[in-house]
Symmetry: C2
Subunit: 206 residues, 2 copies
Amino acid sequence: MNEEDEARRHRLKMEKRKAVQDAEVAGKTVARKGLLMVHTGAGKGKSTAAFGLALRALGHGWKIGVVQFGKGQWRTGERNMLEKLGQEFGQVSWHTLGEGFTWETQDRARDAKAARRAWEKARELMDDPHIRLLVLDELNISLRYEHLPLEEVLGALAARRDDLNVVVTGRNAKPELIAAADLVTEMTLVKHHFGAGVKAQEGIEF
Amino acid sequence: MNEEDEARRHRLKMEKRKAVQDAEVAGKTVARKGLLMVHTGAGKGKSTAAFGLALRALGHGWKIGVVQFGKGQWRTGERNMLEKLGQEFGQVSWHTLGEGFTWETQDRARDAKAARRAWEKARELMDDPHIRLLVLDELNISLRYEHLPLEEVLGALAARRDDLNVVVTGRNAKPELIAAADLVTEMTLVKHHFGAGVKAQEGIEF
């Protein structure tokens, strides 16, 4: 096949793909609404991708809420930066109410109490009509260890304002939450340098 | 089993888990080095998680580089915000050199030229000793369509400075790139609201 033929074949293939994509987009007719998103799986990037969404939301001038159910991977430095952006672009309401995971604290009653406190704050932010994106970081862990009743959480999420986007992060998302969600991404660990004996990297992993 | 027994059992289990984790971390002895990270898969969050890493890197006062091989999901608003943060916290060198994917442009020669331009910029940033994190957004697409020779890219990545972290994003990462990487995360689409006929959301998806 000569070069011209190949170029033509490529063009036709790409035209076809574009037509399929255009048709797909045109076929979406349901009115805009706030999404329930879940980032789960044993891989990296669940909270980090939620960060990225927060950044994007601020770029749209939205007010965002963040509730951390664990101490999580979001450090003070990152929080400071998002809050700084919030002063100029949108607005940030950030609440770290978890006290670390149960395998650190080894105290189930304390964990459940912390989860309850975080959930009450989440409910409060859900009632703030200015908030358009709410990040519930590591809520999946609290649900998995039954520090919060699943039905109560699902009920509140289902009854949320129509324009409120919610991102729930953490491993082992409950099947019922996945069923209720609009968009679920599983971060799968394909390969990890820890296997090769490399220590966690400052700036990358914490 | 009474409550006290259950609490004790839980505590023992968690103590054991913590001991395993502590031993794992203590066993890592290889010296710190820049990581090669890959975000791939058909799911959401590949570029968005790279965003989050960029935010985190700025929080450490690092200079970061971003090269977009496609037009990508990173819009002007997000770029502006990262650059704004860069003025205060770290430093940002951002280059959008892709011209959209091949199924949009339908011109293979133009795509290859754009990929080459982007790659030359990436090489330049790799030589800047101040940059500690380099994001090569959608490079996987350029490699998949053979707009760039895989060997050339792998060679340059292997020869990079020891303290340079690199994130490569995009679907269909080449197996050879995965083999060379320290950390590979596959973003898997578990569920997508597009299936339910909801249009892409401003602020969330673009």
